[in-house]
């Protein structure tokens, strides 16, 4: 198992890995954009709908960026994987909330929170990867924007309106986190990548006696035991 994407081919992330990662991201962000599009009224009447519109636009930007920045190649496994992923993203009313519409909105926010919080595509890039590579820049952009996009979901899910159903909300978010994390990790494991090893890397502070290059060149191997 490796901690990062690679080994590199001609100095770039292999096209199959780019295809698989971007397909996952486009499946999930596309589903979220679709759900936001359905939930968004043609004319906005509340402040939170403005935020929802902004989220919708950012998700569309992510889809456009991934579509153009990825080196796509045919991947026979994608048909089954995309079917599996799309099935997982279907909105579901959550238990413990009587108002069905509110339950659907909570699930939508929970899915968005999980997608933006759990998925860290930039953390897959090898540490010395070139900064000017379009795929790398797209991964960094998606991860960076996710940290901001998540704030709307946090405000809603932690907000005063949902205090009476806080336990149900927490369960719904935990469930979506587990689901998104499992699918993401399964996709990565199929490419021999295990991100759990990132915590076992030598902290830079402890490398004072060693040249930076030696530390940076530490093998990108997950150290976690099977």
């Amino acid at each position: 198992m490796k901690a990062f994407l690679g080994p590199l081919e001609n100095g770039r992330i292999p096209a199959l890995q780019q295809t698989r990662v971007s397909a996952f991201l486009m499946s999930a962000h596309g589903a979220l954009a679709g759900q936001l599009g359905v939930a968004l009224p043609a004319s906005l009447h509340h402040g939170w709908q403005v935020e929802m519109h902004s989220q919708y636009c950012r998700e569309m930007e992510i889809l456009s960026l991934l579509g153009r920045a990825t080196s796509w190649i045919p991947d026979p496994a994608l048909g089954f994987l995309i079917w599996q992923w799309q099935l997982a993203w279907v909105p579901r009313p959550i238990s413990g909330v009587a108002d069905r519409m509110q339950g659907m909105l909570i699930d939508l926010a929970a899915f968005g929170h999980a997608l933006h919080a759990v998925i860290r595509p930039a953390a897959l890039l090898p540490e010395s990867y070139p900064d000017d590579d379009p795929f790398a820049l797209a991964m960094r952009r998606v991860e960076f924007e996710s940290g901001r996009l998540m704030q709307a979901q946090i405000l809603f899910l932690k907000g005063p309106e949902l205090v009476p159903v806080r336990d149900a909300v927490a369960s719904a978010v935990e469930r979506r986190h587990a689901q998104v994390r499992d699918l993401w990790q399964n996709m990565l494991h199929a490419m021999e990548i295990d991100t759990s090893g990132r915590h076992a890397l030598v902290p830079a502070y402890q490398a004072a006696a060693r040249p930076a290059e030696a530390i940076a060149a530490q093998p990108s191997v997950a150290i976690r035991e099977p």
Partner: protein, 319 residues
């Protein structure tokens, strides 16, 4: 790799050193994870301590609750780890955020530990710390983990250290970014939104307590450590020269030396805190020096304590 179960959550921890004799539990700061303690840990192990360190909920390899992290749960995790160490002298040392968790544990379960070492810690959140905390949280939200680290570097370390490590700062930033998830850090920071000051409860801490503070720490400055000193009966305040907030990282050898001296003094019955104030040596093996009598340890320049200030301070300490 050892794991603890606590309230259905999985906690990653490490043990190093001999399984008998005194033990020391290290509690992380906000963006820390167990790997960062290794030099500090190794210095303690060399002195015969068994050292336990763990990732708190939301950190490193431990579970990261998606929306809410309660400090009570962090205290429960610390308690579970201390239980696992069994019946022997156990010292708890926590830095910054981890110091708060250690203080909370010592307030409620002081009988289970032999000594406490809050480092760069605090029991209340006055306006200055509140505004700094809010700014750090906003920095995290708008700029991500990397920007938070950029804000923390000059608070945590001296200019000399940052200069000497400049070739490694980019790597440190990257490794810190890899190890921390934005949502988990945000949850940890937001666990302070409902924070109730501990000040009035500090007198319940009856164990020997060594309060460590950096001479130049402006994130958790001297008044916060002073509050610990005057409310914890068997305490001593030790000022680490030229240090900023994260002296366990900048000078792990010296900090571990102070901790082992403290533990040895406590176990030998030599410790008498008496709310005294000390200046730490600059190097391992040096002697602690009493803060000069009659001068004000709260000031940055050598100002004599005014006669009318002595009585109120003594009253506060006595109460």
């Amino acid at each position: 790799m050892p794991w603890l179960e606590c309230n259905s959550r999985r906690i990653h921890y490490e043990l190093a050193g001999p399984p008998h004799g005194p033990a020391c539990v290290l509690v992380n700061g906000l963006t820390q994870y167990v790997r960062l303690w290794h030099p500090f840990r190794d210095a303690l192990v060399a002195k015969g301590f068994q050292v336990a360190s763990f990732d708190m909920l939301g950190q490193g390899q431990s579970d990261k609750p998606s929306l809410f992290i309660h400090q009570d749960d962090q205290v429960a995790v610390l308690g579970r780890l201390i239980e696992r160490l069994g019946d022997r002298p156990i010292f708890v040392a926590g830095i910054s955020f981890g110091g708060v968790i250690a203080l909370r544990y010592a307030i409620d379960h002081g009988d289970k530990i032999a000594g406490l070492v809050p480092m760069s810690s605090f029991a209340e959140i006055p306006a200055q710390l509140l505004m700094l905390g809010n700014a750090l949280r906003t920095g995290l939200i708008l700029g991500g983990t990397t920007f938070l680290q950029d804000l923390l570097f000059p608070m945590n370390f001296s200019g000399e250290w940052l200069h000497s490590m400049r070739h490694l700062i980019e790597l440190a930033r990257h490794r810190g970014w890899l190890a921390n998830d934005v949502y988990a850090l945000q949850n940890l920071m937001e666990s302070f939104l409902e924070f109730e000051p501990l000040t009035e409860r500090l007198s319940a801490i009856r164990v020997p307590t060594m309060i460590l503070t950096g001479e130049y720490d402006f994130l958790t400055p001297r008044p916060l450590q002073e509050s610990l000193r005057i409310h914890i009966p068997d305490s001593a305040l030790v000022i680490i020269q030229r240090a900023y907030h994260a002296f366990t990282l900048e000078n792990p050898g010296l900090t571990a030396y102070l901790l082992t001296r403290f533990a040895e003094d406590v176990m030998a019955g030599r410790w008498h805190g008496k709310q005294s104030i000390w200046v730490a040596p600059e190097n391992v093996g040096g002697e602690l020096v009493r803060f000069p009598e009659g001068f004000d340890h709260m000031r940055a320049i050598p100002v004599r304590i005014q006669a009318d200030e002595i009585a109120p301070r003594q009253t506060a300490a006595a109460s």
